[in-house]
Symmetry: C2
Subunit: 386 residues, 2 copies
């Protein structure tokens, strides 16, 4: 399977392959320039320079029934230079924007912490700092993402790396060709930036993706060679998957047409992780389009598996008050509220009065999870939760 | 450089390469058998069956001045079957031991959570569980490690994977040959088990190892291709390095004779991480022999770097009461107490009244850290802290 994204730089390692993007980066650079140009024009026309920032608040978020993801509405706020309450934020927005522009131009990337340190200085002739704390620069990065309709990765800002995968797929990552079936015991480490100018798909023999919650569960699947027996990619996100992992899963799904199955703990946190993978997160609704996988299926652990799989008391962990409250909140999410199977699933959790971890399946025997449980789940579509 | 550990299985992937070890695993299996055999003999001789467990407490820990690592003393306690207060723990010890034996025999590994689920059941004819909680099984695993003088990895128990590296070294991990200079933007993911039967060194052109604290700092070094310019391995542990990373650093040092340099935040937590890498940890003193690197050098960030590097206010983060207390505790560690440079370093931190992160060096400019700061540190031995 030749990738549409192939080509471009042949350099090896992150220094050459990753940044200086010919696609995302340049697009984002042009958008940054346009934003700055507009400010300059307003100043020249003796108007009050301003930038328009879409509002990132629950009030401006809704569930798009057709696209099946959480999305932002059209509400915007103006951030003006000649406004006592907005001038500092205006300055910060342009400052961070200019740092991102520098990063793109020099083919470099930086963490959000590094952006903070790069942007922090004392304003000439004053004792005023541009930023007092990273809690001031992080939201400005998000402002720029929504204002420019560019992911932070396109602005050359990276998050932490988290998550690994194994399976019959060959990738090119920053110029290195990597056979993900032969990357050692910890698998391929998924980077924070997985846009097409960094990661290209070269050859894929996987038929689907199985995404699990934790690295210890993942290791069980790797060691038991599940990915080989079932021709699939097995990935984990080390808990709530980081942006790089979510984006890569979406690319597997969209570009390689791989179905995505998700295996998480039977508890409200597991339901929530699934909700984010499938529909996007409420906090960062503007990313859904690039991260959500509305066709992802939840295959377990289901509240009905206790009886279905003949499990015993050893797997039970009592629900606490927080779990009960959280489960009810999730049942009320608009994207779960109208789905009878999900309502039944969550009601059953509450009726059980206990939660179950994926690893608890091991009480049956060490390879029950990989030899019996998941194959049974994959075979029976009726057990999938959508 | 051909590895002494090369050879053995040629299987690809963790399923074949990792477990069923011909070395560590078998040694540990024999030790487990010997322990069980002794219990059987005592029972046959109508004695009270017992196992001897070295005491894991601060009272039984000391600093070995000659070997320069923290080590356990000889104090032991007997765990007896015919003792009301010890019978359950005795049963648990043999139960976990037998699960480890099964793992080794079947060529499988398990997480500490999986060991808990594997060992948990209701004792026949009673309502008594073998384990009520993982907090009961974790210490039993540690008991077995010290009693058998075997790392948990040799008992086929794995911890979380954490940490990555990049550089001119070719490894064989679970049968796959991996060029760590060409593993993509997130580098080689260091697994939890890196014993010689899993990870072998095939070819190494690195001259030293630079270990940094966080993945975002690591990415700076990777992107700026520091490892290529300086022919070195650059690794990070995602904070306090996990067991796999510590063990691998020690193997680089002992088997490949690579000097290990450590770059951490200028704060008590950074000092502590260095202390653990160099001398071992107090809690798990019995591992020091297999994990500690007494020759490791601390190259920064030093409290003197503020003046030395002409930094400005932007890098300062005020010390809080906890930092001050912790810094004084660390200054009193026996392995720092007699070292004048360390005493000066910690006194200077307290006198400064602020701490500094590695990433703060970026206030100078984005590549100051990799182009100027670390090369300057590496060149000037007088700046190393031992």
């Amino acid at each position: 399977m030749a990738s549409k994204q192939a080509g471009g730089r042949a350099g090896r390692g992150v220094g050459r392959g990753a940044p200086g993007s010919r696609r995302g980066g340049d697009g984002a650079a042009l958008k940054l320039e346009a934003l700055a140009q507009k400010v300059v024009e307003m100043a020249r026309a003796q108007e009050d320079p301003a930038v328009q920032i879409p509002i990132r608040a629950l009030s401006n978020v809704s569930f798009n029934e057709e696209k099946r993801h959480i999305e932002m509405g059209d509400a915007q706020q103006s951030r003006n230079f000649f406004n006592y309450g907005q001038a500092k934020r205006f300055m910060q927005t342009l400052l961070v924007g200019s740092k991102c522009k520098d990063l793109i131009a020099s083919g470099k990337t930086a963490s959000i912490r590094q952006i903070y340190y790069l942007s922090k200085h004392t304003i000439k002739g004053t004792n005023e700092k541009t930023f007092d704390d990273q809690s001031e620069s992080d939201p400005v990065i998000e402002d720029l993402e929504v204002a420019l309709d560019a992911l932070r990765e396109e602005l050359h800002v990276f998050a932490s790396n988290r998550g690994n995968l194994v399976g019959p797929i060959t990738l090119v990552d920053a110029g290195s060709t990597l056979d993900c079936a032969a990357m050692g015991s910890a698998g391929y480490a998924v980077p924070s930036i997985v846009e097409a100018d960094v990661v290209q798909f070269k050859k894929c023999q996987a038929r689907f993706v199985l995404h699990v919650e934790k690295d210890t569960v993942w290791r069980r699947f790797h060691e038991d060679r599940f990915w080989e027996k079932h021709s699939c990619i097995v990935s984990h996100g080390g808990g709530q998957p980081a942006r790089g992992m979510r984006r890569l899963l979406q690319r597997f799904h969209e570009e390689l047409r791989l179905p995505v199955f998700v295996l998480l703990d039977n508890d409200p946190w597991g339901y929530y992780i699934y909700s984010v993978i499938k529909h996007g997160s409420i906090n960062l609704a503007y990313e859904s389009r690039r991260m959500a996988i509305p066709d992802a299926k939840f295959i377990g652990v289901s509240s009905f598996d206790y009886e279905r799989c003949g499990l015993n008391d050893d797997v039970k962990i009592a629900l606490d008050a927080g779990d009960v409250k959280r489960a009810k909140q999730i049942a009320d999410y608009p994207w779960f509220a109208n789905k009878r199977p999900w309502q039944k699933e969550i009601r059953k959790l509450l009726a059980n009065g206990f939660k179950m971890e994926v690893e608890a399946m091991i009480t049956r025997h060490l390879t029950y999870l990989t030899d019996e449980y998941v194959p049974m789940k994959l075979q029976d579509r009726k057990q999938w939760l959508d």
